[in-house]
Structure formats: structure tokens, C-alpha cells
């Protein structure tokens, strides 16, 4: 019975449109940024905000949040992204760091001043040393 309810709630989650938030260190004076700006940060076209080095962080490749982020924010296919980073690699630019979980993502962003990362909105809790600077949903 317990399994059944788990399954039910999981199905409900799938059916319902997920919403994600982009979080940043509270000390970062960056608010209400545009999607394009966010894209530029994640493609490492914008490296600094004022004097602070921006450190975008991805979730694992298989993570649904990452897939959604690539689709909705970067609006680039996996192949295109791969090609992009390969070319960037030769220019000495590495893709963003990868965190395994929302938990570590929040912890990382909270600890590092210029860090930004995305997590499902439901995993966010306001007491962390982070703030939401962008939201989107599927």
C-alpha cells in the first residue's frame, strides 16, 4: 500500500509541471538577470560580475533539472553543447563544475561567493546562505 502511494505521488510529480530556481550566493549583488545573460554565464561568455568571478555549477548530466536548464535556458541540444565545449576546450575554457545533488549544490553556492547553480524549486529552503535570482519551469 505504501509503495502504491509512493508510485501515485511520483506519477503526480511527473504530471505536474516542474519548476526550477537558479540560486546564487547571497553576497553576490546579482538580481533579476535575463535568460540570455544566464546563458552567457553558463557558456562562460560572462566570467565576472563586477570583481567577482562567476562560477556556474551544473548538476549531473542525467539530472532532469540540467536537462530542463539546457532546454529552456541554454536552448541548445546536447550535441551542440558537446561540440561547443570541445571547441572551447581548445581555447582553454572548461565547462561549468558539476555537483551531484541539490544538497551539495546549495552547500557549494552558499560557500563560494561567485557561485551560481540551479535546483528544483521544491528542494530549496530559504534559510540557506543563498538567494534565487531566476526561475523557470518546463
Amino acid at each position: 500500500m505504501k509503495r502504491f502511494f509512493l508510485f501515485l505521488s511520483f506519477s503526480a510529480l511527473l504530471l505536474q509541471a516542474d519548476s526550477y530556481v537558479l540560486i546564487a550566493n547571497k553576497d553576490l549583488k546579482l538580481t533579476n538577470i535575463s535568460r540570455l545573460y544566464l546563458k552567457q554565464i553558463y557558456l562562460k561568455k560572462h566570467r565576472y560580475f563586477r570583481d567577482v568571478k562567476l562560477i556556474p555549477v551544473n548538476l549531473d548530466v542525467q539530472d532532469a533539472a540540467r536537462k530542463s536548464f539546457e532546454k529552456e535556458i541554454l536552448k541548445m541540444s546536447r550535441n551542440r553543447l558537446r561540440e561547443f565545449w570541445i571547441m572551447q576546450h581548445y581555447e582553454g575554457v572548461r565547462p561549468p563544475l558539476v555537483m551531484h545533488s541539490s544538497k551539495s549544490m546549495i552547500k557549494f553556492v552558499a560557500k563560494i561567493k561567485g557561485a551560481l547553480g540551479y535546483i528544483p524549486e521544491k528542494n530549496f529552503s530559504s534559510q540557506e546562505n543563498v538567494k534565487i535570482i531566476y526561475r523557470w519551469s518546463d
Binding site: S101, K103, K111, I112
Partner: protein
């Protein structure tokens, strides 16, 4: 040979054995020890290299891990345990007792490869701090060699903490030598820390490397040169007894085997030498036997199948060849002898020929018989062939008599020589025939001349003798005239006698003396002659004795006239040359069916060397005693010729001057 072979075998067998034995006793120990040591040096070098490589690899792994992006998780305290999983995986991959530890800048544990969660401050904090201070990226702690490296964030290169690799040095124990007779260990002199099996009491290790030989062990050591393990040595201990066990066993074995081996080698050498020599001896004996008996048909059989068999086969072949050659030689010899005899018979036949025509014809016939060749012709002119030359004695030149022609063109050298020699033989015979003919003709001419002359001389002499005898009877002659006429008569008679003698000799030589054989009473004949000459002996006061008792023959078949003439001659000679003493006549029959009449006197005798001269025509010995006796000098010569004519002989014997002489007449019965 057998001794040499035996010696060679013994040398070949014993010397290497002795060398090996002496080598084992005097040199092998050191040599093997040195060998073991040098081998062990290589071994420990290999162990050391491997150990150092392991440490180096561990350090490199640490360096590699510290550079990975995942290190960034230190920032979030590795809550995703990504780093922990990586370290655990790495630890498993390295198959060794080791631990990865990550600590933050304040030396608190962040994560590790350990099974259980480590919390609080890093346990070797002070050692780490000391190493950091010394700027040494490793330090020793207990059994562990701990490497460490600083971690930096990939995104902003800020110091994140330390990653450490605690490498348990006992990991190296599986590199050390382990065995029944050998063990090895790593040793830190200062800390007396030891990795691996250790049964050795404290050693004094010095320098980069070295070796020790104790009573029981061979010890080899070498210092590690890696900076991780400064002051460490690797030591291999080999149990001497076991390492040299084989050698000692072998020496014992060899010592035990020494008498047996020597005995065996001697025995085998002796038997082998004998075995090798035996067929040779047999071969030698057979060869000697064959040589001794000259039996070349015999062959040698040996029960061997080696080189000696080949030798005996070769020898048999030689024997067969020799035998064949000998037989061939013998056949050839026989043929040659036959040819030689034939040739001699040819020569003999040729010599027998009496006329030139006969000689040529016979020669051709015989040569043809001998050679069985194509016909041979004779041509009485000089042409191509075997030319026959004959000496012309009048001109003293060689003239070509003719040529032997052969119906054959190619002559071998020998054939040519053969025919040339036959031609020479024919030439000689032709010359001989010519010479004989010439001589005979000359002799006949001389005899005829003498015979004729004698006859012509006799006729007037008879007239002279007749008339002088008539005058002697004429009574009116004076004494002086009578003596003169007597001398004439004497001289004429002497001359007549001489002419008669010459006539007889000439007749005999000319072959015209005719013999009239009849049965003659020899005793009566002898008696008559002795009676006839007895008055002569009595005149000189000589005694004559006649002895016919030993004559067993009443009569013989001969010519009485000539026999009588010989006896008269001999007896008158005896009386003539004897001054005192007497003449002894003896007639006897010899065993050889001959009659011997011997007349011995006590006269002047004759030198032995002069006897032969007596029988020459007109010979009188030139001696002062003999000189005073007159004679024609034909008597004995004529008598001898007559005796020969009657198929008898006449001999004169004398022991010297004044010792008398003896005439012996031998007649056939």
C-alpha cells in the same frame, strides 16, 4: 699400439675427471659463492627497483587524484561522497594496504577511503605539520609512509586542504625473497624498522652495497636510493648450507665415485683398447700368414663392421688384385719363356744350317711359326724391311745380302727389335757359312796341292833311292865314294819318309784318307811290331817288356795298317829318346769298353807344358837334349790324327825332363 691406445683412453677419461674433481674441491666453493652473491645483487637490485617504483607510483596516483575536478567537492564536505567513492575505488585498484585521506585546511577529516567515517582532527597532524614545514611531501608514521599533497579548487585555485596517501610499508614485504634457503627484508638502520621476514641478529650495514659471509649465511645488502626511503637497506640472507648444498653433495658424490669411476675408466679403456686392437691383430696375423704362405687366394674375414672392416675389405681387394697380377705375370712369364725357348730353337736351327738358301728358308719358316703373322718374304735386294748385312771378307766391307719383308706396316718397337735381331742372327749365320765354306775350300786346295806335290816329289825320289841302292851294290867303288852314296841314300830315304808323312796328313785333312776296317788280332799285331823293333832296342842295350795279360780282347774291328803305323811310331819314338833303361809296353782292356795301349820309357821326358806342342805339325821341341834327335816332326801329329780317325785317341804323359814319358793309345773295340 694397444698400450698407446690404452694410455690415450686413460688420459681422455681420467684427466677431465681429475680436473673436475680438483676444481670442485679447490675452486668451486668460492666460485659458486661469488656467483650466488653476484646473482643476489641482481635480485636485490630488482626488488629495490620494484619497491621504489611502487612508492613512486603511489605518489603519482596521489598527485593525479589531487588534480581532478572532483576535489572541488571538498568545498561542500563531499556530501555527495563522490570523492570518497573515487578514493575507495582507487584504493581497491592499487591492491595494497593503504588509505587515502582528505583533510581541510584546519586539518579536519573531510573524507577518506576508509570503511568507517573518520571525524575530527587528522591523527598524524603533527607529523604532517612537521613535513609541511620541512617542505617534504612525505613523512613516516609507524608502518606507514605517508605522501601528501595540497588541494586547490579548480575554479578559483584557493587552498582546499590536503590529500594524503598512507602507504603501509608492509606492502613491500611481498617483494622480499622468501624461500626455504633464502629470505629478505627491508631495514631502516636508524629506526630498526623492518619489513619482511627477519631472523638475523643485528648487522652492521655500510656503504651503498655490500656482502657478508658468516658461518651459516651469505648476506647481500644494498641501500635504497629513493628519497622516500632514505637510510633504508634491502637485505637478502641466503643459508650457506642450503645454497651450497648441491656443491657439497656433489663433492661427496664425486669423492665416493672416485675409486669406482677410476676403476670403470680403466676397465672400459682396457676393454675398448683391446676391442679396437683385436681385429687389427687378427688382420695382421692373417696378413703375415698370407705373406708367409704366399697364398694370395686366401681372403680375410673379420667379425666387425667398422673402419677396420673397410681396411680388411680393402686388403682383400689388394690381395685379389695381387693374385690376379701374379697370375698374369706368371702367364706372361711362361709365354716369354716359351718365346725365348722358341727363339733359342730358331737360333739353334739357324746355326745348324749349312747353306745360305737353307738358312734363309729355315729362318722364314721358323719366324712364321713363331709369330703366326702374315707371310714373310725374302727379297735379294735392299728395300724396306729387316735388312740382312753380310761381311765381305776380301774387301772387309758390309754388303746388303737381302731384306726380310713383312706384310705388316705398324711395328711396335719390340717387334722391330725382335726382327732386327733375327736379321742380325741370319747375317751372322750367313757369314759363318761363308767363312766355313771359304776355309774348307782353302784347306782342300792346300791339301790337294800338298798331295799332288808329294806325289810329284816321290817319283824322282824313288828313282834316286833305287839308283843309290844299285850303286851301293856296285863293288868297284872306293870306300869314300861308298860313304857319299850311303849319305845320299839316307837323305833320300829321310826325304821320302817326310813326304809320305806330309802326304798322309794332307790326305787326312783333305778327308781323302780311306780306312779299310777288318777284324784284327790286336795281340798278334802288337807282338809283330815289338819283334820288328826289338833289334833297334838291342842296339842301344835297352830292355823291352811286353805285358798283354790284362787284355781280354782277342780281336778288334779296325784298320790294321794305321794301327800298326801308330804303334811303330810310338815305340820307335820311345826307343829313339831313351839312352838307358828300357821300354815297357802294356795292353789292357778298360772298363769303358776300350783298349788301352801304353808305352812307357825311361827316356828324356818332356815338360808338362810342352806336351800339347808335340801334336802340332812339324813340331820338334826346342830343347838342347831333344835337339840332337833328328826327325820330321810329323810323327806324333800324324799318329794323333790317325787315332782320331780311328775314333780313338792318343795322349802323352811325362813328369818332366829326364823322368821318362808315357804314350797312351786308346782304341775302340
Amino acid at each position: 699400439m694397444q698400450k698407446k691406445l690404452l694410455t690415450a683412453f686413460l688420459i681422455v677419461g681420467l684427466v677431465p675427471f681429475a680436473i673436475v674433481y680438483l676444481y670442485l674441491i679447490f675452486y668451486a666453493h668460492d666460485k659458486i659463492t661469488q656467483n650466488i652473491l653476484s646473482r643476489e645483487f641482481e635480485n636485490i637490485q630488482s626488488v629495490i627497483s620494484t619497491a621504489q617504483n611502487r612508492l613512486l607510483r603511489a605518489d603519482k596516483e596521489l598527485q593525479f587524484l589531487s588534480k581532478l575536478d572532483v576535489v572541488d567537492d571538498v568545498v561542500v564536505g563531499d556530501i555527495d561522497e563522490r570523492l570518497a567513492r573515487l578514493l575507495l575505488q582507487k584504493k581497491k585498484d592499487m591492491h595494497a594496504q593503504l588509505e587515502f585521506v582528505v583533510i581541510d585546511p584546519s586539518f579536519n577529516y573531510v573524507t577518506s577511503s576508509a570503511e568507517h567515517n573518520l571525524q575530527g582532527r587528522y591523527k598524524y597532524l603533527h607529523a604532517l605539520q612537521a613535513a609541511v614545514k620541512k617542505k617534504q611531501n612525505f613523512f613516516m608514521q609507524g608502518h606507514n609512509l605517508i605522501f601528501y599533497t595540497k588541494l586547490y579548487a579548480s575554479f578559483n585555485h584557493k587552498f582546499l586542504g590536503y590529500m594524503l596517501l598512507e602507504y603501509n610499508l608492509n606492502n613491500l614485504a611481498n617483494l622480499t625473497a622468501k624461500g626455504k634457503n633464502i629470505y629478505g627484508y627491508f631495514l631502516n638502520e636508524k629506526s630498526h624498522y623492518i619489513v619482511g621476514e627477519h631472523k638475523q641478529s643485528h648487522l652492521l650495514l655500510q656503504g651503498r652495497e655490500g656482502s657478508l659471509i658468516t658461518k651459516k649465511n651469505l648476506i647481500v645488502y644494498k641501500r635504497l636510493h629513493s628519497h622516500f626511503l632514505k637510510g633504508w637497506y634491502y637485505v637478502n640472507v641466503i643459508k650457506k648450507e642450503k645454497a651450497l648444498d648441491f656443491l657439497y653433495d656433489f663433492i661427496n658424490f664425486m669423492s665416493l665415485m672416485l675409486p669406482i669411476a677410476v676403476l670403470l675408466i680403466v676397465l672400459v679403456s682396457f676393454v675398448s683398447a683391446k676391442k679396437i686392437i683385436r681385429p687389427l691383430q687378427k688382420l695382421t696375423e692373417s696378413v703375415l700368414d698370407i705373406t708367409h704362405k704366399k697364398d694370395y687366394k686366401h681372403s680375410i674375414h673379420l667379425d666387425v663392421k667398422d673402419e677396420i672392416a673397410k681396411l680388411s675389405d680393402a686388403f682383400n681387394e689388394l690381395l685379389a688384385t695381387t693374385d690376379t697380377a701374379l697370375e698374369k705375370l706368371e702367364t706372361e712369364n711362361k709365354l716369354r719363356l716359351k718365346r725365348f725357348i722358341e727363339l733359342i730353337s730358331i737360333f739353334n736351327a739357324i746355326i745348324q744350317t749349312k747353306s745360305e738358301t737353307e738358312c734363309i728358308e729355315l729362318s722364314i719358316e721358323k719366324i712364321q711359326d713363331l709369330t703366326d703373322d702374315k707371310p714373310i718374304y725374302f727379297e735379294k735386294k735392299k728395300s724396306e724391311g729387316a735388312q740382312i748385312y753380310v761381311t765381305n771378307f776380301e774387301k772387309n766391307t758390309k754388303e746388303c745380302y737381302g731384306t726380310l719383308l713383312f706384310d705388316k706396316e705398324d711395328f711396335s718397337e719390340n717387334e722391330l727389335r725382335f726382327y732386327t735381331s733375327i736379321a742380325t742372327m741370319i747375317s751372322l749365320q750367313l757369314e759363318r757359312i761363308r767363312l766355313i765354306n771359304a776355309t774348307t775350300q782353302a784347306s782342300r786346295a792346300k791339301s790337294a796341292f800338298i798331295s799332288n806335290m808329294s806325289h810329284e816329289l816321290r817319283t824322282p825320289l824313288n828313282a834316286i833311292i833305287g839308283f843309290t841302292q844299285y850303286l851301293i851294290t856296285y863293288e868297284k867303288l872306293k870306300q869314300e865314294q861308298m860313304e857319299i852314296i850311303g849319305n845320299i841314300e839316307n837323305s833320300a830315304s829321310y826325304l821320302l819318309e817326310m813326304i809320305n808323312g806330309i802326304l798322309d796328313i794332307a790326305k787326312i785333312e783333305a778327308g781323302k784318307m780311306e780306312l779299310h776296317y777288318e777284324t784284327v788280332d790286336i795281340k798278334e799285331l802288337l807282338f809283330n811290331v815289338v819283334s820288328m823293333l826289338t833289334p833297334l832296342a838291342e842296339q842301344k842295350n835297352l830292355t823291352i817288356s811286353l805285358d798283354m795279360q790284362r787284355c781280354k780282347e782277342e780281336s778288334i774291328f779296325t784298320d790294321p795298317y794305321f794301327v800298326k803305323q801308330i804303334i811303330i811310331n810310338l815305340l820307335s819314338n820311345a826307343i829313339k829318346f831313351t839312352e838307358k833303361g828300357g821300354v815297357e809296353i802294356r795292353l789292357e782292356t778298360l772298363d769303358t769298353k776300350e783298349l788301352q795301349l801304353s808305352i812307357s820309357d825311361t827316356g828324356i821326358g818332356i815338360e808338362a807344358e810342352d806336351v800339347e806342342k808335340l801334336f802340332q805339325d812339324f813340331a820338334q821341341l826346342d830343347h838342347k837334349i831333344q835337339k840332337k834327335y833328328k826327325g820330321t816332326g810329323l810323327g806324333l801329329s800324324l799318329s794323333k790324327k790317325l787315332a782320331k780317325l780311328l775314333q780313338g785317341d792318343l795322349l802323352i804323359q811325362s813328369e818332366g825332363i829326364e823322368k821318362g814319358s808315357r804314350a797312351i793309345l786308346i782304341l775302340p773295340i
